[in-house]
């Protein structure tokens, strides 16, 4: 920890940074207003899948970068799970060195263009910014600036292919191509390993592809990163379900020395209430997979999707917001969030809630479904809901929802998307009886090396944490790559 502080201090004392600080008074910096990204018109964008945010213009980015006072004690960094040197990249932007800013980001974050779009900045870096904590003003737009620098680099056509060490000929396997797997693969490749990523689906990217919609994270952005990884020499095997197509033992026989498991938490949970299996009631995973992975809303593609007129989405997380906004885009007249707590407790990114509200999404907060009803064809047509109120905080610190007795009523629906959480994918654990698991079905790992109870098996991301975030998954992937490197080198040098 001390080392990091020393390092940050040394960085901050570099001449260019000191100069820059002097070039403008802190008062002048803090007197400026935060800019918003340009956005598409809510009433236009809720009818198509174009990306909602248009990013910052160069001018806006410079203005926002100037707000950062380059704190001696940059508290923002403590809020970042991978410890991005935030003031440094922002000050690079201020000097106009956008490519340099991207380099700073990539020191610790393999996918800044993705994180700039989907990280919960409002709970992480920006929540710990000096502006938020001490000035009680809107934070420096760290997320927007991250996105700006990463997009600038991508659009510049000067995307750097990271340097890769001389091949060491050692085969390692990465299971799952979500953010955890991709970041582990990237780091292992840089260290010289012969990396193969195995992915069960026909597309690379995990939730980034099948879950998060195009209007929030265009596929192209993920594809560009994957292309870079291919150029680095990483091999991708799609349609390969480890544990079924081949087992880990069989892969070991093929010469794989160690594995990183980033198989995610892809199992949808249902509420197990009466009528939940009627037609028209589906998990957010199914709904989003049909639309995002299978392109179901496009008539030229074969996969169908139900386009409801009256859609209710159960839940308050990012997945729920993505589903409810997708429903609107597919033409729903009424697209409603039904969430058992209040707006403040919603786990979704603040920006997504705001965008949803602008797009005409209704919120039935403090409501919970108890039963579904169907027409003579078995298609859901009504749901019974009960009202809730908030009680004492529970273990998560959020106030517990309590049922208000005799408050039940019914509303009309023709499509319901259940978005109440996911469970870890049991496939890998089920195929490895010796693997130590928690009661929640996550893999037990060493916090520092991400090594599991099977020495050659490392794991990270949602399969270790349950449903978490992209940045945490990526952080785990990096840590695990370092852990695997150490493990393999020690084994070889013995």
């Amino acid at each position: 920890m001390e080392n990091i502080k020393e390092y940050l201090k040394a960085e901050r004392n570099q001449e260019w940074r000191a100069e820059l600080r002097k070039s403008m008074k802190a008062k002048e910096r803090t007197g400026r207003e935060r800019n918003d990204m340009l956005e598409r018109d809510p009433n236009v964008r809720n009818k198509n899948i174009d990306e909602v945010n248009l990013g910052l213009t160069e001018e806006l980015a410079l203005a926002d970068a100037r707000r950062c006072i380059d704190c001696a004690n940059p508290t923002c960094i403590t809020g970042c799970p991978v410890g991005i040197n935030i003031p440094k990249f922002i000050k690079k932007i201020e000097t106009g060195d956008y490519l340099g800013a991207a380099v700073v980001l990539k020191e610790t974050n393999a996918l800044p263009a993705v994180c700039g779009r989907v990280c919960p900045q409002d709970k992480q870096c920006e929540n710990n910014c000096f502006y938020t904590i001490s000035l009680k003003k809107p934070a420096v737009a760290i997320g927007n600036l991250e996105r700006f620098a990463a997009d600038y680099e991508r659009n510049s056509g000067q995307m750097a292919i990271p340097e890769v060490a001389a091949p060491n000929g050692i085969k390692v396997g990465v299971i799952g191509s979500g953010p955890a797997g991709l970041s582990a693969a990237g780091d292992l490749c840089k260290l010289g390993y012969d990396v193969t990523v195995f992915e069960a689906l026909h597309e690379i990217g995990g939730v980034l592809k099948y879950g998060i919609p195009e209007f929030r994270l265009p596929n192209e952005i993920v594809d560009v990163e994957i292309e870079v990884m291919r150029k680095m020499g990483i091999k991708f095997k799609t349609n390969f379900l480890v544990g079924r197509t081949a087992t880990i033992d069989e892969l070991k026989e093929q010469g794989y020395e160690a594995f990183f498991v980033g198989s995610g938490a892809g199992l949808p949970r249902f509420m197990n209430i009466p009528g939940e299996n009627y037609n028209g009631i589906l998990s957010s995973n199914e709904y989003l997979t049909r639309v995002n992975l299978m392109n179901a809303a496009n008539p030229d593609f074969d996969t169908p999707v139900l386009k409801g007129k009256n859609v209710a989405v159960i839940g308050g997380g990012n997945t729920a917001m993505d589903s409810v906004r997708t429903a609107k885009r597919l033409g729903a007249e009424r697209s409603v969030i039904v969430y058992r707590r209040s707006l403040v407790e919603m786990p979704a990114r603040v920006e997504e809630v705001k965008h949803a509200q602008e797009e005409g999404i209704e919120f039935m907060n403090l409501h919970n479904p108890v039963e579904y009803f169907a027409d003579e064809n078995g298609r859901v047509n009504r749901m019974r809901i009960q009202k809730m109120e908030l009680g004492e905080p529970d273990t998560s610190g959020r106030r517990r929802p309590i049922v208000i007795p005799n408050s039940e009523f019914e509303i009309d629906v023709d499509t319901v998307v259940v978005s109440v959480g996911v469970s870890p994918n049991p496939l890998i654990p089920a195929s490895l009886p010796n693997l130590k698991m928690t009661d929640w079905g996550t893999i037990v790992v060493d916090q520092d090396t991400m090594q599991s109870s099977i020495p050659e098996l490392f794991a990270g991301g949602d399969i270790v944490r349950g449903g978490a975030t992209v940045i945490l998954a990526m952080g785990d992937g990096r840590k695990a790559a370092a852990g695997m490197h150490k493990y393999i080198q020690e084994k070889i040098n013995k």
């Binding site: 069960a200 349609n239 081949a246 299996n277 037609n279 199914e286 074969d302 996969t303």
Partner: protein, 275 residues
Amino acid sequence: MNKIVEKEFFSENVAKLVIEAPEIAKSRKPGHFVIIRIDERGERIPLTIAGSDIEKGTITLVVQKVGVTSAKLLALNEGDVIRDVVGPLGKATHIENIGTVLCAGGGVGVAPLLPIVEGFKKAGNRVVTVLAARTKDLIILEDQMREFSDEVILMTDDGSSGRKGLVTAGMEEVIKREKVDMCMTIGPAIMMKFAALTTKKYNIPTEASLNTIMVDGTGMCGACRVSVGGKTKFVCVDGPEFDAHEVNFEEMMSRLGGYKELEAEAYEKYLKNAE
């Protein structure tokens, strides 16, 4: 990319496809299935692995034309490629030597039944197979079934081949005449429902292989869910075979129709374009 190395029509609407898939050929067991996607724009559909050749690195699928994707698949020829094939998926059939096994199949269920009939026979069981169809022309895989069954009983609704009557009549005939240790049924949900009611009367353990709608086939979406013994199960990972006496067939039938209108629309469009 998986190449079709052999294609043979069994009847107008049913064909066998042998495709390259060396890894799947090695790991598959009877009861397993694959999910395929024909091309960039295709949907993912489940198909049972009817057989495999480890040396040649191929698996065999038997496909019946019922809608857009199955029709497109049957329109492919030797040398063409299927873009995506993933598997083996699902739980393998629990095959052991238990004595006499009654296999009852109809409609879309006959193809997936074939490897199971073969498996039970090779495990040393006496296998009696009842195949049912509306009429003579719709009976498929009769010869293949005969190869692995001690006896094949044909049932048609109109009596145009075999005996006139439903699958259950054929089943009861066998049950009344000899001791049946277990029953396996695959077919339209309505058929499986009545097959299950029949064997329940005689207390014969019965497994049904459920052909629900699927998307990923890896437990990720829940499209394939059914109620078994009052609990929700995912057919792609918990099945596809379940205790037939516990399955809620009414619900399953209803769920199979969940996309009926969209499917019909798509098929009409496909046929029009094919003209």
